[in-house]
Symmetry: C2
Subunit: 448 residues, 2 copies
């Protein structure tokens, strides 16, 4: 009955003791508490929340459930970046090689896409042969040799989170601040980083749509991160329209490679890469200020060092570098269809959530954990929010292996757009910065 | 993903459509939706509730999940009584034979004890050989032949409730008004009754302690009952101290047999039996008024007809009638110990919940669904609330097969009592009556 008493206690809003949290989670991981009791507790936590002590305790118990990568024998501070999930959010593929080529050490652990948001691992695996299954030892060795590793969550790392996350995903208990925070920070602590930049998304395509909850999440993440000795900074960034032009696994890899290869690309990608990478370089003490980091980031993007570092990663992780060096070698999707604009005017909105959901339906994402992906499937936008378009001009291209899936999406795809006669108000990509000293504007943060 | 969407919808407080409720429950019963998703939905319902339409729909879907006993070919209205669960609540054992011996038809389906409340089936099974596993056909035949059957929930009857109830019990989702109401009414509709008296408990030992929630439950039960063509009356009755003197399976059977045999016994049992039985007799149209029913109930208790009907039931259901006819034949518990009063004064309270929990620990109840019971274990009170006691006089007797269990309870048992220098205020056993015409005082109800 003890488990039921713990569920009841949280259900009536009382804080759980560390012993209660530890025994529940440990027994769950050992298989002594069944999924149905854990999902009941998760739903009770969804409704009643957890205070900071409970959240830190939950994070610690999850961390203690598995192995840790130990970087304590090297002088450098390892750094990582984590996004709370977005549509077309391919930043990890650019940020990781960028920071590494500027001298940072990046042992990055990423996730898979599920629901309307994409996942870095799926994008990487669209590169033939790319191996994301690295052991803690392999992550450490590769980070020491080339400065960066892009891996999935090894079974040894935070098994509690792995088990709980799968359950949250199918029980509508993902959107809970303490559950999100403990999941992210336990993984980052396990991968041995001492510095962490969080890209906390806000808006239509984000985990939380409203600014207030998103800010609370950012503050909680920073607070819990600091408890584990991780210097943590959270950037609150816009996720109303997709990031960049491509949504879909290979399409996004291609966009990143093109951007790093010629030093040019979507403005939002360039801006966010500069911000995230420079913040990472500052807090892992490669550069004393964000501004200096930004200069260096601009250089490695422009001079091709980021691109070459990305090639090094692909090679180190057994990926086929030929399709990166010659993007045209990659197999074309069997079905590609352009959508033409039905009107002339300005694009006032591109709904990121709907766009993500449509790409999932096309085969770019999973509805169930074991769904197979169509790596070439997705959307390539030709225009973004604020752009002017003439009637009949191409708006986007849909690609998929399955003709029937593409056709079933066709009617709906236009609904991701809103048009207007005048250009929309400009909204900043980076809204705010939260760190242990409180929150601040992005502009002030750079100068500080 | 459809299941998750349904969980999410309830989670944000939106009413579910009948299609959503039906598909979720049906798929769960078929094993296509796993326990962990059902428990997440149950917890969301716990927090967000269900409106009357949802509750009626849930009840109907549960009812449709199994077979129904069909009494439509006979002219009499079958009637049942259901209690929301209490400590020492042995009323079914008295009410069923009483109503049957007054001419009512009672196809009664009962449950097992779990947690601090006892269950009628466990009490019946303490009689050697007593068979509670009757098929719908057997329930019907026995009701037609002797006017009453006391059965468990056959696998054919409301399998959805059976499956959901076990899950609720271990996920802290029992205390939810729509879940309680749909569980009770679906079972009563399946057993084919057209009239139902509910004994809705209120107080320390009840499912809900507070009066407001208990009244809401009573109103909901009456409302949902009426939707299924069942004339439903709910009596709100006190469950602060245990009912009668005995708590524990065989101890309670013994108390009932003694009461029916000599027509005398605990005042609360006699009063509640008179009220419940007479109300049942009125709504199944055996007597035109509650008052006339009460007179008849007093007679069958006094003249031994109730007792003889109980013997008939035991015989019909393969129970050993010799231990009923000679209670001393029943094996004595190996360990029996009397508690003497540490003070002189009035007993101002006997905590029903604690008493029920202690009996469970002694072996009279289950912590887990498959725990074996010690049928002789329990508590026999010698004094009740309001009684005067001298220091050193016996307060109660504890009985159990396990000496160590008895000893481990010994220190705590005194804590169920509160003593005072003056007698406590009298509180009515029957607080209120709720029926389709609204709520009323018990006294008004009898006269109406």
């Amino acid at each position: 009955m003890r488990q039921v008493k713990i569920i009841e206690k949280k259900q009536r809003g009382a804080p759980l003791t560390s012993d209660e949290i530890r025994s529940f989670i440990e027994q769950y991981v050992e298989g002594k508490i069944p999924d149905y009791q854990m999902s009941a507790l998760l739903m009770a936590i969804y409704f009643q929340g957890m205070n900071i002590d409970e959240t830190v305790c939950l994070t610690r118990v999850m961390l203690d459930s598995g192995a840790r990568v130990d970087f304590s024998d090297i002088p450098n501070k390892c750094v990582d970046k984590h996004s709370t999930g977005g549509v077309g959010d391919k930043l990890s593929l650019i940020v990781a090689p960028t920071v590494a080529s500027c001298g940072g050490m990046v042992p990055m652990i990423s996730g898979r896409g599920l629901g309307h948001t994409g996942g870095t691992l799926d994008k990487l695996e669209s590169i033939p042969g790319f191996n994301v299954n690295l052991s803690p030892e392999q992550i450490k060795n590769q980070t020491l040799s080339i400065g960066v590793a892009l891996a999935g969550q090894d079974a040894e790392l935070v098994p509690a989170d792995k088990k709980i996350y799968s359950l949250r995903d199918v029980t509508a208990t993902v959107r809970s601040l303490p559950l999100v925070a403990s999941s992210i920070i336990s993984k980052k602590a396990a991968e041995g980083v001492e510095a962490l930049v969080l890209d906390v998304k806000i808006g239509e395509g984000a985990i939380f749509k409203d600014e207030e909850t998103t800010e609370s999440l950012a503050k909680l993440l920073v607070r819990v991160g600091e408890e584990f000795g991780i210097e943590t900074v959270a950037l609150l960034t816009d996720m109303n329209q997709p990031l960049g032009y491509a949504v879909g696994n290979w399409l996004e890899v291609k966009e990143c490679v093109e951007l790093m290869n010629d030093g040019d690309g979507a403005q939002d990608l360039l801006e966010l890469n500069r911000a995230l990478s420079a913040t990472m370089l500052k807090i892992c003490q490669v550069f004393p200020t964000v501004a200096e980091g930004m200069d260096e980031v601009d250089q490695v993007i422009a001079n091709g060092n980021s691109y070459r570092k990305f090639l090094e990663i692909v090679k180190a992780q057994s990926g086929d570098t030929s399709v990166i060096e010659n993007l045209d070698l990659y197999p074309k999707s069997s079905n590609n269809r352009e959508l033409l604009s039905p009107v002339s005017g300005y694009i006032s909105d591109i709904n990121a959530r709907m766009c993500g959901e449509l790409c999932m339906e096309l085969g770019a994402g999973r509805k169930k954990i074991d769904d197979e992906l169509d790596y070439g499937a997705g959307v390539l936008l030709f225009k973004k929010k604020g752009d002017n378009i003439e009637k009949g001009e191409p708006l986007l291209m849909l690609s998929a292996e399955s003709k029937s899936k593409l056709e079933s999406m066709w009617e709906n795809i236009i609904n991701i757009y809103r048009f207007d006669n005048s250009p929309p108000d400009e909204s900043p990509l980076i809204r705010k910065v939260v760190h242990s000293r409180g929150e601040t504007d992005w502009d002030d943060f750079i100068k500080s």
